[in-house]
Symmetry: C2
Subunit: 337 residues, 2 copies
DNA sequence: GTGAAAGCGCTAACAG
DNA sequence: CTGTTAGCGCTTTCAC
């Protein structure tokens, strides 16, 4: 690969001039500019991003770090895609890391990303009270939280209104006549699941129903298998639920399997509502009613916030809360006695 | 972040010694080693990967580049995950890029990755005759192809036996009594689809059937929507197929939608077989028969090849061909007259 | 408008 | 075994 030096020699100027051509070409004599540009062309010059990054203080590394629980979860791959598209427009590349909800891995990757001098880090924090991330923010690294909040911290954040999403799901089921509604949720350490469950409980209370702890099951949000087990337990209950609300896409998958296994028909025997409108949601039979969250758009927004922060590190933090939607399909189309 | 210099000062040694402690600690006096290690601890020292990379010739950047068509395709997210897991074990991070099957983007990212001095690049080439990638290999950059081959090029490669996969799918349908079998495939520029289609044709020929061009539809492999249209066309054919083989997961999704829309029941009215055993394949009703490809494992293998090549750049190229499997489920459970 | 020179944090000869 | 020194390729004062 050609270097600045070679280009300079080829164009008969100093490396400083070439560097200027790359950065603020306004300060260069038009003729010189021409000559340098041609030299770059001819040598197929590509600036060395590593050297650029080493030299520059910050905000110039053209690299973003991204730590997500698992890229195999389609919700996160939508977010990643949204981020990447915005990054591409700005000539940025993205380092992708999977934390598996393991704080150790999160810490490891946080260190790596700092050591790579990325311009900023986008992540759904594994723990809403996580100390490591909070310290990172204090250290001055631009951070944007997406999908999950960091409690009591001033940080740019993009989430959806999870509580409302949970509420909408349950309200819809109630309007259909359901009275025993179960929820497959996850640990309250994740702000998103805690909020969805809160919405579930609120909707029940608002309709004068009591919360039945037996109908609330917490599973590993990364495991459809675990959700399948929990769903099976629910279906075997003496007073089994007539509707089940699964709070993320993987749990929905496990739920569908359990329903299949038990030979139950949706929506005749049981109603099902999922979270996340995945591509397969309308290909299954019957098509699935879901709470939609705009993953791709959330990713885009998060990346935009990041670039704003990089451009102006002392600007006020912004919290974006997007609206969930409900997509009605046949899995909740019939009333159950 | 603490630097070498600070650690050196703190430990009362030269920076060289500290550097040695990081690299080949064998050459350092045990006592000095102790002292330096403690200094690192106390200052929370993290080596600056950017500086390391700038200085080092190659094979030390601890960064891998990855260019895939689209992370939102679950097959690719499995591959990515496999690669990332192996990389993590080796203390490597991964830069992820989406090409959208656009050679321009592929080229752009290839330049970025080179400019980032990554130790190697893993990718499914967009075009099996692609010049850019071939030149990259000649330039000495370690490259591993995964999922798709590069024709007539000596390069480490991990693929599955796509032709066999296509053959198995069709043979299974034939054994069920189907005689009009359609295929949803994609452009032959992608080695994988070309091969799957070849398997399809071979199986038909081996059973004395003629290839009917009307039953072969080429779509955009990234668009379930396009596949849905093509499937609709097939279903409206005067002599409609009694079975359809979709050659990747997104096309399968489009196919299922089309079948639903036409009010057809699987497997009574039509048999369906997909490619890729996605998590949702057994959650749909009826569960879907598919040709399985081990995406995660392919990713792992590709990463392993990469690390071998990085360790020994002149070693003989390896081509790994993995075996597809067929997962029989109800979508092809009944015979059709 | 342009160039010389310093230095980002590190590794790798080369001396001692 | 340890330290001195010279850069990797670039940006950024500071002169001219």
């Amino acid at each position: 690969m050609a270097t600045l030096k070679e280009v300079a020699k080829h164009a008969g100027v100093s490396i400083t001039t070439v560097s200027r051509v790359m950065n603020d070409s306004s300060k260069v004599n038009p003729e010189t500019l021409q000559r340098v540009r041609r030299a770059m062309q001819e040598l197929g010059y590509q600036p060395n991003r590593v050297a650029q990054r080493l030299r520059t203080t910050s905000g110039q590394s053209k690299l973003l770090g991204l730590i997500i629980p698992d890229i195999q979860n389609q919700f996160y791959s939508s977010i990643v895609r949204g981020i990447e598209d915005v990054a591409y427009d700005k000539n940025y590349a993205v380092i992708l890391c999977n934390s598996d909800e393991d704080p150790g891995k999160e810490k490891f990757y946080l260190d790596v990303l700092q050591s790579e001098s990325v311009d900023g880090i986008i992540l759904p924090p594994i723990h809403q009270h996580g100390k490591v991330v909070k310290e990172l923010i204090k250290s001055g690294m631009p951070v944007v939280c997406v999908d999950r909040k960091l409690s009591r911290e001033r940080v740019d954040t993009v989430v959806i209104n999870n509580e409302k999403g949970g509420y909408m799901a349950v309200e819809h089921l109630l309007s259909l006549g359901h009275r025993r509604i179960a929820i497959l949720t996850s640990s309250p350490q994740f702000s998103s699941f805690e909020e969805r469950q809160r919405g579930y409980e609120q909707a029940l209370r608002d309709h004068g129903l009591e919360i039945d702890e037996k109908l609330i099951r917490e599973g590993d949000p990364r495991s459809s298998e675990h959700a399948r087990q929990l769903a099976n337990e629910l279906l075997e209950l003496e007073r089994a639920p007539s509707a089940i609300f699964a709070t993320n896409n993987l749990m929905t998958l496990g739920l569908l399997e359990a329903v299949n296994e038990n030979g139950l028909k949706i929506p005749d025997d049981i109603s099902v509502i999922g979270f996340d409108d995945m591509p397969w949601a309308r290909a299954v039979t019957p098509p699935l009613t879901v709470i939609r969250q705009p993953g791709y758009e959330m990713g885009r927004r998060a990346a935009e916030l990041m670039f704003q922060r990089i451009a102006d590190p002392r600007r006020e933090q912004v919290q974006i809360m997007m609206e969930p939607g409900i997509v009605l399909r046949e899995s909740t189309s019939r009333w159950v006695k």
